[in-house]
């Protein structure tokens, strides 16, 4: 192939023996053979580009698909689901005619290469997914995992990632209402940057990615297409072009949040005027993905004139235009009569918009360049009928030894003084310390609907000013638990997010997940993946919260060393009136503290075992999802009926971590009494699941404890909100100011 002789469909049919760079583009030999079989000839260069990116692991889910099918098979009975798995993002009914869409995606690899732009474009991509459903984005979240806090490279990656998320999200006017930041050496060469977004729309405004209606126009709008983010660009360039072209292109895209803000506003205005038949954002695989998915989902075919695509770099080849991942672009299907109005709205917002094609009667996706046909494919074979692998998986041989290395054997504090010292060490350890240094770099107030945001464990935004209807979102994951037992670890992540949502007073409704794992070609990793998916699917069935969609990130691995299996689970909740939300702060002196649930000696994978002993072994805490459901119901009822004024779930760091956070947030101390049957150490540090601590006004005590008793939930009075110290009676006293200084000072000391 050369620039002079364009590789047209006719040419491909005539020259079956031309060597093609399928291997360099990431296709396997049998995949390339299948492309030839599907087409009945060799693919053109442009077709090869499309198939190779669309059949990549990232776009096709070819390794994970066989397992992800469980999310569709194990669906709990739930009337809330309006749009399920397979679309850009799932949509659930939250009442009053409103629908909510939410999704979390990974941008792990680019964020390691170029932390600022990698993280920034991660936010950009997830927000476009949300607007492509017809929704106005109302909040973003960012679960992060970094290498060791004291490793020099973490000082490169984390500040860049945080600045990128802030720089992009803050410029879009979206409040950042939650996230996570976890440090662990296993993420040193593979930090995880997950970005999530929530969008709100009326039921009738739900839009889908499909091209229907012969004669309807395909409009590409937003940024011009450049040479950034082309997968395998160097190969294409070396095969196809001469040396005068720009060759080395950054694999990471560069974000322009201003352009994205304009895209949001102009897209929503076009939706409001009912100008759009179908819509798709351009993310991974760019135009290849958008055109093939739109055509595949719709009825009829599509014809695209690639010459009409506005370019930043006029020397781009058609293959490069199809593969470019330039940011801030969208593709809309618009009836011919409404094209003029659509273009006028784009002009109003200074957004470039161009008709690049139309829906046809046929069933082919045809793409033309300089008048010649360079793509002629059945779009389904590109977008939806890619390869599916049944990768071998096997429980790793080291799993037994890991589980046998029980954390119960770790030395415990010998006396009250050591117990006190360990509390201070725990709450100031990087994973348990305040993340305000990070979250204060994000705008959490914009849009004026933020009810709860960091440091609350659950973000909450109001979506109807008249009625107070709101939605809540919590994201949780614990790679240490999942490493010890991926099935249980995934369920613990689900249970924690579910519990966090309920603790805020919202009713858990639906689930999304972002599944971060190592290489699927390693049977041990594939086993972890299969187990985690099974855990989430079984858990969602039991909790009655359907999985509405998700994202898989594989190959988070450096050499032989994979990251901990890290399923991050997001639970969306709904609350009828945000005025009834439950914050975490112990704000009222004299209120009673109750511990809900059962506390057992469970330290495997705990924050204590990490912060004090740098240990990972044993079994994670046991999961009882029926108990989680009951606890959730109690927390939601207590919120609705005004029986509690504060609630905090218990998870990593145990009771003392939760009490410390709630005390510091409220500016009040607490006097705690170790309950009968528990030792002080287990009381403070155990990470048994299915627990929360609540602050109960004295006037509500009888009503609250009666409710717990009737419903069968253990509720133990453990103390009172009081003073300016945390005192564990008979053990130790810690002044709040000392706790605040170490808890809030740790992260700035490392990164500021």
């Amino acid at each position: 192939m050369s620039h002079a002789s364009l590789d047209t469909v006719d040419n491909a049919a005539k020259t079956p023996d031309v060597e093609q760079p399928w291997k360099e583009l990431g296709l396997k030999e049998d995949e390339y053979a299948r492309v030839r079989e599907i087409l009945g000839r060799r693919p053109t260069g442009a077709e090869l580009a499309m198939y190779s990116v669309m059949w990549s692991e990232h776009c096709s889910y070819k390794s994970s698909k066989v397992h992800l099918r469980q999310f569709g098979a194990k669906v709990p009975k739930n009337d809330a689901m309006l749009v399920g798995i397979g679309e850009n993002a799932g949509v659930v009914d939250v009442g009053e005619g409103y629908a909510v869409t939410f999704k979390v995606e990974s941008h792990n690899h680019p964020s390691y290469v170029e932390p600022y732009q990698g993280a920034a474009t991660g936010v950009g991509g997830i927000v476009r997914d949300i607007i492509a459903m017809g929704a106005r984005p109302v909040a973003v979240v960012d679960p992060l995992r970094m290498g060791a806090a004291d490793h020099p490279d973490t000082k490169r990656v984390l500040p860049g990632v945080v600045a990128g998320i802030g720089g992009y999200g803050n410029s879009l006017g979206l409040p950042n209402i939650g996230g996570e930041l976890v440090f662990d050496a296993c993420y040193q060469g593979n930090p995880l940057v997950n970005a999530g977004a929530i969008g709100v729309m009326r039921h009738e405004d739900i839009h889908l990615a499909k091209a229907s209606g012969s004669g309807n126009k395909i409009i590409l709008y937003g940024a011009r297409t450049g040479g950034d983010g082309i997968g395998g660009a160097s190969i294409l360039a070396s095969e196809t072009f001469d040396a005068t072209k720009p060759s080395k292109r950054p694999a990471v895209q560069v974000g322009d949040p201003f352009q994205e803000k304009l895209l949001i506003e102009c897209t929503l205005e076009a939706f409001a005027e009912k100008l759009v038949v179908g819509i798709q954002d351009l993310g991974a695989a760019g135009l290849s993905c958008a055109t093939s998915e739109l055509a595949s989902n719709g009825s009829g075919g599509m014809r695209v004139e690639l010459d009409d695509v506005p370019l930043r770099d006029s020397t781009l080849s058609p293959e490069e235009i199809l593969m470019s991942e330039s940011q801030e672009r969208m593709c809309a299907v618009v009836e011919e009569a409404k094209v003029e109005r659509f273009l006028a709205i784009c002009e109003k917002w200074d957004v470039i918009a161009t008709v690049v094609g139309e829906v046809t009667d046929g069933d082919r996706l045809e793409i033309f360049w300089h008048g010649e046909k360079i793509v002629d494919v059945d779009p389904r074979t590109v977008a939806h009928e890619g390869p599916v692998y049944e990768r071998p998986y096997a429980r790793p041989d080291w799993q037994d030894a890991l589980q046998a290395d029980d954390a119960a054997r770790l030395p415990r504090p010998a006396d009250a003084q050591e117990l006190r010292a360990q509390v201070l060490k725990l709450v100031s350890s990087p994973n348990q310390a305040s993340k305000a240094w990070v979250t204060d770099q994000y705008d959490r107030f914009v849009q004026g609907n933020t009810v709860l945001a960091q440091p609350e464990d659950t973000g909450m935004v109001r979506i109807n000013e008249e009625t107070g209807l709101g939605v809540a979102l919590a994201n949780d994951g614990n790679g240490r638990f999942a490493k010890l037992d991926p099935y249980t670890g995934a369920q613990l992540a689900l249970a924690e997010a579910y519990r966090n949502v309920a603790a805020s007073g919202a009713r858990p409704l639906a689930v999304s997940d972002c599944l971060n794992f190592g290489s699927p070609e390693d049977p041990a990793v594939m086993w972890q993946f299969a187990e985690a998916v099974r855990g989430i699917a079984d858990g969602c069935l039991q909790l009655g919260t359907p999985v509405t969609g998700g994202n898989v990130s594989l190959y988070n691995q450096t050499g032989e060393a994979a990251i901990h299996p890290t399923p991050v689970v997001s639970v969306l909740g709904v609350i009828d009136d945000v005025a009834r939300r439950t914050p975490m702060a112990f704000a009222e002196d004299g209120q009673l503290l109750y511990l809900l649930g059962d506390t057992r000696e469970e330290f495997g994978g705990s924050a204590w075992s990490q912060a004090i002993h740098d240990h990972l072994g044993g079994l994670p805490p046991a999961v009882d999802l029926d108990r989680e459901k009951l606890l959730g119901e109690i927390l939601v009822s207590a919120s609705r009926d005004g029986m509690i004024d504060a609630a905090h779930d218990l998870s990593d760091g145990g009771l003392i971590q939760a009490v410390t956070e709630s005390c510091l947030r409220g500016g009040n101390g607490a006097r705690l009494i170790v309950p009968d049957g528990l030792d002080a150490f287990t009381f403070l540090f155990s990470e048994s699941a299915g627990r929360a601590v609540v602050s109960v006004p004295r006037s509500e005590e009888m009503r609250f404890t009666d409710m717990c008793k009737v419903r069968g939930l253990p509720a133990t009075r453990i103390g009172v909100v009081d003073g300016d110290v945390i005192e564990v009676q008979g053990e130790f006293t810690l002044p709040l100011e000392e706790l605040r200084s170490v808890h809030e000072g740790a992260i700035p000391a490392l990164f500021a």
């Binding site: 600045a163 802030g166 720089g167 803050n170 410029s171 879009l172 006017g173 322009d256 949040p257 201003f258 352009q259 803000k261 304009l262 917002w349 200074d350 979250t439 204060d440 770099q441 994000y442 705008d443 959490r444 107030f445 914009v446 849009q447 004026g448 609907n449 933020t450 009810v451 109001r462 000013e465 945000v578 005025a579 939300r581 500021a752």
Partner: protein
């Protein structure tokens, strides 16, 4: 009888809906203004809201200052119409020279979002009459280019004329000279500040405080009593 408060939307403005809501909650009639319009739709006062107008890729507020709508805003502000510039709006007002000084990147180079305690130093402006001089209020702060600077002579003049409207308390969040958070013009009709009063108008929302409402009730009372 109420007053019409206009809120300008430039491309990249982010807090326009919030400012419109705050005006409505205070009892005013909120009016959306578009950057390309030369007509101010008979509003009685204008709010330039926060955000990153035109992306702020050049210098915060530098391009917005040349928007068609700003011709009228500048002209009418000079004739006495009340104008409040919040964050990016404050930056736009300094670019137009309706207010003195300029904003640089925060001294710590990070975006900062926090609940900020402010001292009200001038309760005589169109936008601060509902406060008392010396009153302490809580208003959310969020910006990356928030470091207020001016030459020493200008700063001395602002101080001596009582035109420092707000000062940061509990430590300086961005390196602003003399802890200045907001200033007013000599006539008291044009006020700019970096913190966001429109984010502090409802209990439960944001930080849960309502000190920001005072800006909007101040202007409303002034406009209604003048009518």
């Amino acid at each position: 009888m109420t007053a019409r408060i206009g809120v300008v939307t430039f491309p990249g403005t982010l807090d326009d809906r919030d400012a419109l809501r705050a005006a409505r909650i205070a009892g005013a009639e909120p009016v959306a203004l578009w950057h390309r319009d030369k007509d101010l739709k008979q509003v009685d006062a204008v709010v330039l809201a926060g955000g990153f107008s035109y992306g702020d890729y050049l210098r915060a507020g530098a391009i917005a200052r040349f928007s068609p709508v700003m011709e009228q805003v500048i002209e009418q502000a000079k004739a006495g119409m009340p104008v409040l510039g919040i964050c990016n709006g404050f930056q736009v007002l300094t670019e137009t020279h309706l207010l003195p000084g300029a904003m640089l990147r925060n001294n710590h180079l990070h975006f900062v979002c926090k609940d900020q305690r402010l001292g009200v130093e001038n309760a005589g402006t169109a936008w601060t009459a509902d406060f008392a001089a010396g009153q302490e209020i809580h208003i959310p702060l969020k910006n990356i280019d928030g470091r207020y600077v001016a030459d020493e002579h200008t700063l001395d003049e602002l101080e001596s004329e009582g035109r420092v409207a707000f000062r940061y308390l509990d430590g300086n969040p961005n390196g602003s000279l003399r802890d200045i958070a907001g200033v007013t013009n000599a006539a008291g009709n044009v006020v700019g500040l970096m913190p966001h009063p429109e984010h502090a108008v409802e209990p439960l929302i944001g930080t849960g405080g309502t000190d920001g409402l005072g800006f909007f009730t101040s202007i409303l009372k002034k406009l209604v009593s003048a009518a």
